[in-house]
């Protein structure tokens, strides 16, 4: 466990420290659970009660709440961001020793930087490049001619197909697949003729991709994930999709082929986005929304049907099938009433 003094934390955060600079903490906890050896934070006034009674060894908070806590404080402009910035100091993840594990297979012409770490049973294909300080956890496969940027982290069993690019400081979690074939076929008399997928996947800098995702290579042209995009687990991104800078995509989302997603969008969980549509910068989709068409201006959109008890739902559900008929009935009523009035 790391032990870190409040002085060090204040300097890391560029925070104003009120309290004992020599006091040390060795972990993060919620206001309610934190003890004297732990650091906490408050990002919303909702938690003022918890702040009052917290036993935390120090709290990250904004100036406006500084007088609400008697103990040690680290005062910053954005306490939630402050919390994020210190969180990395307390991880127990080991940094990997540089070097190639003896069980890893490095094919001819591949270049692994001296400061990179390639774990047990990894496979690096011919002419691939693994950048400085990159970390490949056990079981990772990197295809022929891939370019893996500096400080990229590929967790266990990630598979990158040939010719793809992963930008500097990006991370991909376990069991995700990058560069698999897009779903492209021409119909024939017997079934389907495969359209070989000739493009690649290009992932920008500082992107994070969750576990068990699949991102298809382009058919003609490439699939592109811009810088600073964050993607959760079990997300499917089809061929030739473009995802704009700093967009966030939550778990279980699917994006169909050639969709273009703008910058700084937030896509909640279980959303499905149609292919060949364009989503404006700054768009938000509620959880479970089926996005059938594009939009030209940002804003918030939803299609989520309301949650009901099964009894209620059964009655109302039948009615949804008769909705068009009802509109016509109401129009008839209006006409009838109007004619009476005349």
């Amino acid at each position: 466990m790391p032990r870190i003094s409040l002085q060090e934390l204040a300097s890391h955060l560029d925070a104003q420290l009120s309290g004992d600079p020599q006091h040390c903490v060795e972990g993060l906890a919620d206001l309610r659970d934190a003890n004297l050896n732990q650091l906490s934070f408050i990002a919303s006034e909702k938690y003022l009660d918890a702040l009052n009674s917290s036993n935390a060894g120090a709290v990250i908070l904004s100036e406006s709440l500084a007088d609400k806590f008697a103990g040690n404080k680290l005062i910053v402009a954005d306490p939630y961001l402050g919390f994020a910035r210190v969180s990395g100091l307390f991880t127990r993840r080991l940094s990997k020793p540089a070097g190639v594990h003896p069980s890893a297979i490095i094919e001819e012409g591949a270049h692994v930087a001296a400061t990179a770490s390639v774990g047990a049973n990894c496979f690096v294909g011919a002419d691939a490049v693994i950048g400085e300080f990159a970390e490949l956890y056990p079981g990772v496969s990197v295809g022929e001619r891939c370019e893996i940027g500096e400080r990229v982290r590929l967790y266990n069993n990630v598979v990158i197909y040939h010719d793809c690019q992963i930008g500097p400081r990006s991370s991909i979690h376990a069991n995700s697949t990058i560069g698999c074939d897009g779903f492209g076929y021409a119909p024939t008399a017997e079934g389907w003729e495969k359209i070989h997928q000739l493009g690649v996947v290009r992932i920008g800098e500082n992107v994070e991709i969750g576990a068990n995702c699949a991102i298809d290579r382009g058919a003609i042209g490439d699939t592109e994930i811009a810088d600073n995009v964050i993607i959760d687990n079990l997300v499917h991104i089809a061929h030739n999709v473009k995802v704009g800078e700093a967009t966030a995509i939550a778990g279980c989302v699917g994006i169909a082929g050639s969709a273009v997603i703008g910058k700084r969008c937030t896509v909640a969980g279980a959303v499905a986005i149609n292919g060949h549509i364009e989503i404006a910068d700054g768009t938000h989709f509620h959880g479970g929304t089926i996005v059938t068409k594009g939009n030209e201006e940002g804003g918030a959109f939803a299609s989520t049907p309301p949650l009901q008890s099964v009894d209620q739902w059964r009655k109302n559900s039948v009615r949804m099938r008769q909705l068009d008929k009802l509109f016509k009935q109401v129009r008839e009523l209006e006409k009838a009433l109007k004619s009476k009035n005349q």
Copy 2:
């Protein structure tokens, strides 16, 4: 193929045997398909016709149906449970030889029980513990300091990140990921600041998890799956979720961060559950439901929209966008009619 006498089966099931105790069966089959060398079962009166004409070598059934079948019978209180209890006798899965495959990598300080089996190309991180009779299939990665309980079965290419715990007799199917980072970031001017995920995943006893699932580690505090939970394929469970005892979660479900799911819930396929909500014990969600809010009492809930032909759906769908307007029209009509009546 195992050959098992009805006497053995009766004793295994604590069943009343009517028929030839020496008769042997070597597999299970449906009532319609079963032959003399096979065992079948009937769990619902719907299948009475099939029972009548079945050629099964023996049938597991309840006392109330015992006189409906002329052949060998194993009479039990709950025939479906009886079927489950004998099914394991007929599996062809080989139990793994104990020991560590020469190609497996065991890091310093890890402890593998003498009766455990660690397959080809597995990776066991520093200070991890693999319990008695545990089975790791080829390609499994277990992170630093993990605790894998006795008789746990991790199928091929399962990845467990560092510091996670898997309770005794639990199974996890191939290509699933446990303990990957939760989706936690603080917004910044350029994009997102990662919140390092400091918690772990703790999985109880006798849990089964399907293939290609992802269960995130906690941000602060842990993600917890209680004893006897069953989870199907392609399920995403976000950071700090708690799933209560004996809850069943079907395929393609996503559960967002910090949701608390009660005991003995049944979550049908393709359900998406919002974060930071609490679901009462004994709740059932219909397939495809988007669960936007918690509930305080169990019961059955749904939001699934009705299936329609595309022609019908097109007409009714347009109307759903005009629903609020329609309610107002109807209110106007009511007022107009009322004023006429006065």
Copy 3:
């Protein structure tokens, strides 16, 4: 980069060539992007403008559009199919060298054809058969007694459980799982008694399955994917499902246990199909549809709720819960008006 003459392409496509037979192309591109060294195609009149101004070295097109382009042309009956047929000539994927990588583990009794390729860190279980020209990419696991047909391609980290069959010329993309246990349990007082899954998965000829999919083995009897089926990424297919010939299943689809899907169906993305129902040949489901019941005749079906701005959606959503009440109000109004008329 391959360089291919138009003469060769015409002969490969059985196309009528108009232009310079010695001209060579070395890649495919869209009409707008293509240069003199690239081949393009036009499959819809929508792109006539792009055709006019295209710099492509040659264009695949139909006779009806042949006079709309001045450059080299390959005239065929179905240009989209023509494009698919030539796409494979330009892939950069290396064909694997035949033979077993020294790091691969081949268990006793397994048979690997001399022309097959088994990559680094693969595992082939006892008595499995790997057919002629089959390609196993690094990290693949094939269970005991599996039969992998000729020219099958299993991409990195695919896991096939014991006793499953993959037909000739089928491909399965990275991190997919075939033959994991179905989700079958009998309820007990404490939780759930596992029903051991005794069937297998049988996949036909010329099937393609995407990345990060899971297809369960049968409980009793088998799960079956017929010839020429195509399946996208992150698809879940439960135990005992049957998928008919040449059916196409897009990404993020889930199909529950024992569903029977007909031939030549097209299932769009994020569809969820209920268990124990039968879907007729030639059925199409729109994206995001929840399929609660079967159908006896093909046709197009949907349940997708309409996309709305959040403001609109909030108003209309409340109304959906009051729909049944509204129908009753309208009926009362009709009665009241009728009684006035009498």
